[in-house]
C-alpha cells in the first residue's frame, strides 16, 4: 500500500468544515463506462460516493454534481466534454476503459481537474485512483482456503488482462499461503458480459471438484452465481460457494434459506470518489498523483455478510493476514511472475 490514502482519510473532516461555503464553487461529475450508473458494481459505487459527497455539501443532482452514462466506447469523450463545458470543475472517468478519453480531455482542458479510476493517467491535472485488488483478493483466497473441503478452488476472470491478473495472483497467493497444496483452477471467459459462458465454466469447475469459485468477470460472473445456486438447489447440503467482486454480492447468492456467497472483495470506489472530490473542493486536488487505495485505508475490504458461511474462524484468519499485509510482512504478488516467486518462497 502506498501513502496516498493516509492523507485522504483525513479529507472527510476537512470537507465537512467547508461544506457551507463550498457548494457553488466546486462541482463534480462523473462519466460511467458501458455498465451504466446502476451496474451494481464500480459505476454504481462511484455514483453512491458522489451522491454522498453531494449530500455532505447539500448539493443536488444537476446542480453541483451529476453523471453521464455512456452507451458505448465512442460516447466517453463527448460525455466528458459536455460535462466540462457545463462547467464541472472535476470530472471522474469511472473504469480503465476511459483512460484514453481522460488523457485527451485533460490535455484539451488543462485548467480542469480530472480523475480516473482503476488505471493511471500521467497528467498534472489528473488524479489516478487505483486499488490494491491483489490485497483484497489475497484475503478472499485465505477465506476460500479456510473454507474449502476439496482443496480445490476456482477463479473465473473476465478478460485475461493486467488488471484481472492482479485478482488472480492475489487470490492464488492467499489460498496457497494457507495451504500450499490447494489447487486453483483458472479460466477466463474472454469478455465481461457472457453469463452463458460464465455458467459453462462454473459448471465445469464445480464438476471437476472445485467448491469455491472467485469470479472477477462482471456480468459474466452472474453465470457463476446461477450455476452455484443451481447446484445448491439440487443438493442443499452440498457446500458450494462463490466469492463476489467489486461490491458485496451477498444478494446475488441468495437461494431460498441459503446463500452461496461466501464473501466478496469490495472495492470502495465510493469512498475514493468522495475523498478525491473533497480534496478538490478544498483546493488540494491531487493532480498528477497516483492514489492507491488498499486494505490500510479501507479502500479495499472484504464482506462478512454471510455470517453462516463466513465463520469467526475464517474472519480471524483473514484479520491475521490483513495485519501481515498492512504491516508489510507480506508483499502480495500482482502478476503471474510475482506469484511464481511468491509461491517458491512458501
Amino acid at each position: 500500500a502506498c501513502g496516498g490514502g493516509e492523507e485522504t482519510s483525513g479529507g472527510e473532516s476537512n470537507g465537512e468544515g467547508s461544506s457551507d461555503e463550498g457548494s457553488a464553487d466546486y462541482t463534480v461529475a462523473m462519466v460511467t463506462d458501458e455498465g451504466g450508473v446502476d451496474d451494481k458494481s464500480f459505476n454504481q459505487s462511484a455514483w453512491e460516493g458522489l451522491k454522498a459527497w453531494g449530500d455532505e455539501h447539500s448539493l443536488s443532482k444537476g446542480a453541483g454534481f451529476d453523471y453521464a452514462q455512456s452507451e458505448d466506447e465512442s460516447d466517453y469523450l463527448p460525455n466528458m466534454t459536455r460535462l466540462v463545458r457545463n462547467d464541472y470543475d472535476l470530472v471522474f472517468g469511472i473504469g480503465f476503459l476511459l483512460e484514453d478519453a481522460i488523457k485527451e480531455i485533460s490535455e484539451q482542458n488543462p485548467d480542469n481537474d480530472f480523475a480516473i479510476v482503476d488505471t493511471v493517467v500521467e497528467a498534472p491535472n489528473v488524479a489516478s485512483i487505483t486499488f490494491a485488488e491483489h490485497e483484497g483478493s489475497f484475503l478472499t483466497g485465505v477465506a476460500a482456503a479456510m473454507k474449502t473441503n476439496t482443496d480445490k478452488l476456482g477463479f473465473v476472470g473476465g478478460v485475461d488482462s493486467e488488471l484481472i491478473n492482479k485478482f488472480e495472483a492475489g487470490f492464488v497467493a492467499g489460498a496457497k499461503s494457507v495451504n500450499p497444496d490447494i489447487e486453483v483452477d483458472i479460466q477466463y471467459v474472454g469478455n465481461f458480459s457472457s453469463a452463458a459462458d460464465g455458467k459453462l465454466i462454473a459448471t465445469r469447475m464445480y464438476n471437476d471438484g472445485a467448491d469455491i469459485i472467485y469470479h472477477s468477470a462482471g456480468a459474466a460472473g452472474n453465470g457463476v452465481f446461477a450455476q452455484a445456486k443451481d447446484l445448491k438447489q439440487k443438493d442443499p447440503d452440498r457446500e458450494i460457494y462463490v466469492i463476489g467482486v467489486d461490491r458485496d454480492q451477498y444478494e446475488e447468492g441468495a437461494i431460498g434459506d441459503h446463500n452461496v456467497t461466501l464473501t466478496s472483495m469490495v472495492k470502495r470506489v465510493d469512498t475514493a470518489v468522495q475523498e478525491v472530490s473533497n480534496l478538490g473542493l478544498n483546493g488540494e486536488f491531487p493532480g498528477g498523483e497516483v492514489l492507491v487505495f488498499g486494505l490500510q485505508d479501507e479502500g479495499i475490504g472484504i464482506a462478512d455478510t454471510n455470517t453462516e458461511a463466513y465463520t469467526e474462524e475464517i474472519a480471524s484468519a483473514v484479520q491475521e493476514w490483513r495485519d501481515k499485509i498492512t504491516n508489510g510482512d507480506v508483499k502480495v504478488p500482482q502478476t503471474r511472475d510475482e506469484l511464481k516467486a511468491f509461491e517458491e518462497e512458501l
Binding site: D38, D197, L200, F225, A226, K234
Partner: protein, 319 residues
C-alpha cells in the same frame, strides 16, 4: 479424462445452452416457412427475457416454485402480441420484411431498457429468486452411461425444447395447418386460389414466432442470466436465425443446428479445462464454434434453399 466423462461434462451444458436457441429457431422456422423473413428474432428474445424477468420478480412471492413456468408462459404471450407489429408491417403494410425485423430489434431493446428504468429506477433488474433449476430426471438418470450424460443435472426445459421441435415437425408436416403454412410460403397465390387466407396464415405464423422467440428469450434469462439488462440478449437471436438457415428451414434441422451450436460452445468453453485442449490458445477455442459452423456448411451441409416466397409481401394478382 475418458471420452464418456468428457461427454458427461459437455452434453448437459450443451443442452441448456441450446434450449433457448431451439425455441427461437423454431419460431423462425414457422415465420419463414410462411414467407415472412424474421430478422427480428433477436428483438423477440429481448422482449421475452424482459417480460420473463419482470414477471418473475413481481410474482415470485405469490407463485413460488411455479414462478418460472408461469413467467415463460407470460413472456410467450407478451412477445406474441409484440410480434403482431412485425406481422402488421410485413403482411398488411407490405413492408420490407428485413426492415421491419430490424425495427423490432431496436424497439424491443429500447422498450425493455426504457421500462426497466421506469420501473426499477436503474438500467438492470435485480436477480430473480425463482429461476429454473436443474434436476436429475428420475428413472432415466439411472440408465448406465446414457443416464449421467443426458439425464443428470439437466433442465427439464431443455427436453421441452426438443419435444417442441418434434411437435413443430409434426404440425408442419402432418397437419392441414402445416401444409397450408408451407404452401403460403412457397406459392402464396396457389394457396390463395385454394381458398387459404395468406394474410391469416402469415399472421398466425409470425405470432407463433413471437411466442417461441419470447419463450427462448425468457428461458435464456431464467436459466442463464437471471436478470435483465442491455447485455442479457446479445446476438443469440442472430444465432437462432443462423440455426434456421443452417437447419434448412426444417424444425428438426433447426433443432439439430441449435444443438450443434450448443455443443460447440460447450466444448469450446469446457475445452480449456480438458488436458488435451489445455495448451490450445484460448482464442482458437473461442472461435471454434463459429468456424466449425462455417466448415460444416461448406463441407457437407451446402446449399440451403429458402422457401420460395420468403420475404415477398403477397399482393393479390401480381406476378
Amino acid at each position: 479424462m475418458g471420452f464418456i466423462e468428457l461427454l458427461a461434462q459437455v452434453i448437459p451444458p450443451a443442452l441448456f445452452f441450446s434450449a433457448p436457441l431451439i425455441f427461437t429457431a423454431l419460431g423462425g422456422v414457422f415465420s419463414e416457412r410462411s414467407g415472412v423473413v424474421n430478422i427480428g428474432l433477436e428483438g423477440l428474445m429481448v422482449m421475452g427475457a424482459f417480460v420473463g424477468i419482470v414477471f418473475n420478480l413481481t410474482f415470485a412471492d405469490v407463485l413460488g416454485p411455479w414462478t418460472p413456468w408461469v413467467s415463460i408462459l407470460v413472456a410467450m404471450v407478451v412477445s406474441a402480441i409484440f410480434s403482431v407489429i412485425h406481422a402488421v408491417a410485413a403482411v398488411s403494410f407490405r413492408a420490407d420484411q428485413v426492415v421491419s425485423g430490424v425495427a423490432i430489434n431496436f424497439l424491443a431493446l429500447g422498450l425493455g431498457i426504457f421500462l426497466t428504468k421506469q420501473w426499477y429506477g436503474k438500467g438492470q433488474t435485480d436477480m430473480v429468486s425463482q429461476p429454473f433449476y436443474t434436476t436429475d430426471i428420475s428413472l432415466l438418470s439411472d440408465i448406465p452411461v446414457i443416464g449421467p450424460i443426458f439425464f443428470e443435472g439437466v433442465y427439464v426445459i431443455s427436453y421441452v425444447s426438443i419435444l417442441l421441435a418434434l411437435l413443430s415437425w409434426y404440425i408442419m408436416y402432418k397437419t392441414p395447418f402445416g401444409l397450408r403454412l408451407r404452401a403460403v410460403g412457397e406459392h402464396p397465390m396457389a394457396a390463395d386460389t385454394n381458398g387459404i387466407s395468406v394474410t391469416k396464415m402469415r399472421y398466425v405464423a409470425v405470432i407463433i414466432s413471437g411466442a417461441f422467440g419470447g419463450l427462448g428469450g425468457s428461458v435464456f434469462a431464467l436459466t442463464i442470466a437471471l436478470n435483465f439488462s442491455h447485455a442479457t440478449i446479445v446476438g443469440q437471436g442472430f444465432m437462432a436465425l443462423a440455426a434456421v438457415i443452417f437447419g434448412k428451414w426444417h424444425p428438426l434441422g433447426a433443432m439439430g443446428a441449435a444443438l450443434f451450436f450448443g455443443f460447440a460452445q460447450s466444448l469450446s468453453v469446457i475445452g480449456a479445462g480438458i488436458p488435451l485442449l489445455e495448451d490450445v490458445p484460448q482464442v482458437f477455442l473461442l472461435i471454434a464454434p463459429y468456424v466449425l459452423t462455417i466448415l460444416a456448411l461448406a463441407g457437407f451441409i451446402g446449399r440451403s434453399v429458402a422457401p420460395r416466397a420468403n420475404g415477398e409481401p403477397y399482393i393479390k394478382g401480381s406476378r
